[in-house]
Amino acid sequence: MKYIKNHLMFIFPLMAILLGIEFYLVFDRTTDTYEKGLQEGYSMLVVTKEPMKTDAFRALNRHISKSESIERNSIVSRIAKGVTKEGEAKILKSLPYFYNVHLNEYISTGELIRIKEDLELSPLIKKVETFGSNYESNYRLFSFIKFTLKIFIGFMSVVSLFLIMKQMEIWKYAHKERMQIMEIFGAPLMLRSGVLFKIAIIDAIAAALIVSSIFLYLKFYWAVHSGIEIMIQNRDYLFRITDIGILLAAALLIVIISVYSVVYSTKGVEE
């Protein structure tokens, strides 16, 4: 019972940190896709005096990824109903050129204003419409969600680290005497800390496997049967096989640091 309790005391905080890491990975993948969707769905309207190509726009600001020309004929046919062919030709001639300009990433509203200013510096550009207010509300909401989740994950990790440090104190107390006796008889560090490493590595593997199992269950069972459309569509972001490696590496790194902190804190203590 004591043996299991000792393991669980370390596995639980370790799991909390690993859950934080996995949540971050899932969140990062999901927001990345959402961000891409927002960025692809967004475009600004640019009105020019002369026809312009994408390269010409990109020369004015590096964030511009592509431009699509809006068919002028369809605009004229819409606004010039009942007008003669000559009149229509005159309207077309006097009509400026319209472009939907897309960006290469999801940027802040400040950057958006800078793009507008850069474009307006060109004598060929008559008008730029960024639809800033709509963009800003999306951007702010998105940034807020991102920020609060990161804060939550960070807080969870800090609390878990404190729990691990507490467990280190217990380990130190439990193993100090044996490690000091072994040190007196000339045991090298690896032999002295062998037992601790064994426990810690078992706990790291257990914690990584438990967290992986939770997310595999979420991906293959819960998400499928949840009936939540967005969850079913984004099921792939919930867990990837490479995440097992990331979780295991993180867990091993944490336990190695923890064990070394115990080993060095017991070294050379006066017997």
Partner: protein, 224 residues
Amino acid sequence: MSNVINASNLTLTYDHGRKEVITDVNFTVKKGEFVFITGPSGSGKSTLLKSLYGRIKPTSGNLVVGGVDLAHVKPSKLQELRTHMGIIFQDFKLVNEWTVAKNVVLPLMIAGYSLDVQNTQAHRLLKHVKLSEHAEKYPLELSGGEQQRVGVARALAKNPVLILADEPTGNLDDYSSNVIWDLMENACQQLETTVLVVTHKIPQVFSLPYRHFIIEGKGVYEVH
């Protein structure tokens, strides 16, 4: 005979160099000698013993043990030196979560001997200290005298060059004390192991010739 311990102008301090316990001391101990160091409580006997296995570094002077200069020793060299020593403590310093047999073969485990060798040696050593039937017990299941015999068996496990003992009979009754002294005498006589014992009282019945140093007023003096 070669010197196993050579102290020259040795000064030892503790409390981060603030308190001097031994000042400018010179003495040597040869291979196969049995040495007692006595002195009043707080005179620095244990500090001197700790310095001999590298737990405390000399503040000044030289202290050479088994050919190793302990004032300038690297951790790896000190580790190696300790594997050639047997150390016995007043409070036994046994690993309570290990069996008696495992405690006894700790020096062999450190030296990397196979499990077969360890088992054979554990059997031999426990027979030597008359604790064969307690091999699979844990230290806290034994009496103080028995625990110290386990400590002596552990100290003898690797036929050490030097045995250091800090008040080895301090917590034991007369009968158990005599058993411990017998075991240490045998080690010195049969294996030619150098034995240095820090104690407050030299045993009344002691058959081997021995040297006696006394620590007094921060100095170490030989009693003839």
